[in-house]
Symmetry: C2
Amino acid sequence: MARIVMKFGGTSVADCDRIRNVALRVKTEVDRGNQVAVVVSAMSGVTNQLVDYCRQIAPLHDAKEYDTVVSTGEQVTIGLLAMALQEIGVPARSWMGWQLPVRSDGAHGKARIETIETEGILSHMSAGQVAVVAGFQGLGPENRVTTLGRGGSDTSAVALAAALGAERCDIYTDVDGVYTTDPRIVAKARKLDKITYEEMLELASLGAKVLQTRSVEMAMKHRVRVQVLSSFVDAPGTLVCDEDEIVEKELVSGIAYSRDEAKVTLVRVADRPGVAAAIFGPLAEANINVDMIVQNVSEDGKSTDLTFTVGKADLDRTVNLLGEKKQSLGYERLVPDSNVVKVSVIGMGMRSHAGVAQKMFSTLAEKAINIQVISTSEIKVSVLIAEEYTELALRALHSAYGLDAQ
Amino acid sequence: MARIVMKFGGTSVADCDRIRNVALRVKTEVDRGNQVAVVVSAMSGVTNQLVDYCRQIAPLHDAKEYDTVVSTGEQVTIGLLAMALQEIGVPARSWMGWQLPVRSDGAHGKARIETIETEGILSHMSAGQVAVVAGFQGLGPENRVTTLGRGGSDTSAVALAAALGAERCDIYTDVDGVYTTDPRIVAKARKLDKITYEEMLELASLGAKVLQTRSVEMAMKHRVRVQVLSSFVDAPGTLVCDEDEIVEKELVSGIAYSRDEAKVTLVRVADRPGVAAAIFGPLAEANINVDMIVQNVSEDGKSTDLTFTVGKADLDRTVNLLGEKKQSLGYERLVPDSNVVKVSVIGMGMRSHAGVAQKMFSTLAEKAINIQVISTSEIKVSVLIAEEYTELALRALHSAYGLDAQ
């Protein structure tokens, strides 16, 4: 007997038929002799409707009341799923965040789970009852309902799996696993059987929108084995796990891309101490997240060029902010460019094998793709290129690293 | 400064515009210097949608899960109304049943409120904050959400007013008060300024669907002054209060009618001890509620005719049940009749003034309306007549008791 957490997103519980389908999947795990807790999202569309009501009433609404309203979506689903399970002979009951409770901090609308009390739920699960738990919600320090921010149900599921000491957390979604790259662009993309937490984290934060970044961080911290699989296809998915569990390690696991970034170049910035701080301080204060940063070696010892990337949505604000400070920063020109894409090669093997970055550069050179910015981390190499080369670059790199399906 | 409870039903909070309108009404009470708690129902249509989901998933669903699902309707409204109040500068916060808590018994789907803990809510109200409380819901003994049954928000409001020691409980609805009779039938019907709990209770249970019977019982028990008024018209409504508060007492306060009853006559039932028990025992076991019962004096000392009324919806089951027992009960014929209406004259004055019933009988006789069954209580005389005479009887009685508007 194993303890398993299963999580189903909004499209998997979109209507009563799909909820019945989810109940059958849960029954399969129960019939295998497993103790099961299920975490569910709101029926798709419901949360948007509730958010829309809040906006209609008050554009700048109280986050505590927002949470009161929006958390009802998950509450409806847990009741319905518990009923559907009982209907097919599986003992089940629903649990709201405050009933466990799932204790969070008081950051309403984007709360973080602090602890989950499992005594009550475990006594019910031990008695053979499936626990149907509302995702996305918690109980704040003032005894009020909190929500974890959009997509927070993944985090709820992983946190619950950690608290329950579950053998596995299965995240059912509308894709059947994690791929070596986007299969809509590269036809030869392969589904991965296993991937490490570290790689998944890079993929998640780079725009492969399979799992919430925070849920992967939490899984890594608590060593929760997470499986991503489809709620509509009956096949194994991708297991996100510890490196030790992966026998045949690939040098490179996947190629990710993100079209969400824009490039800003400051031409001829004064090359003196404190300039970087003077530029990036105001951006941080304005809550603008800077990703890649490159500063060239100063040629004349007086000035240098500085290039960095920000989210596309923040580009206008960035340009305005730095435009206002042109005098004090003392640069010559500001050149914004939103026609860029960030392509990243990710793999644990990089730590021990040289030449991974070099293969990326030579592959792109062969296709005459100019690299604008480079940044690297322990298990990742990212380059910024012109957006029009996205497909060409992804396909060439996917082949070059031997990732193509046979 | 007074403490006031205001309650708004589903049609009063049907959409965001109406919720804003409710917020303005609440603000008016706050501006008068009152401490205000508001009890709200779900937006109209929402509860039906949720109940429909439950039926789709499982025709015979777990009442605990039903309550989990259905109680979300009120939760949405309290969040939105709290926001709408804040938006117009009125400090407010929402309270779910479990947050006060409103403690109920464990009869899920039709729970009864046992106690309301007011310490938390009172400290917030004393600090000038409007408390927006979810109606229709409570917290059961197993820490699970209960609902009070349809229309239970009236009961929530009255119970909260009792617990808070409120000066008044204002029930806003889609009618502007309690009338001497149905104004759709009698054009000269008058709105009553005041009515006693006892009279309101008779009116409520007789089909004048202004207030839930249970809420009136609770108001009477705890001596909560209840005002019924319109959420769409700005005018005083009808105050339901103690007899002592009504200076000019009317002999008769109102004429009610109910088309929901059907008559059953058993012809020539054996006139011996135990026959009534043998007839009504099986009906009670089948959960069929019997209202009026009349047994004639036996002419021959051996058999008698027995007439009673049941809800129209229960007529077929009643006929079947008694048909099966024809042999053992030993009656000659069973005559069902659903073309009947029960007309009732209600008034506290009846206790001290003779002749009220006599006036009813003579008025109906003048119009050649035959009385089929009569029953009386301390403050009420009811007669069963053919349904086709409903309008004629109501108008004649309304005039006869001097209730017509000038």
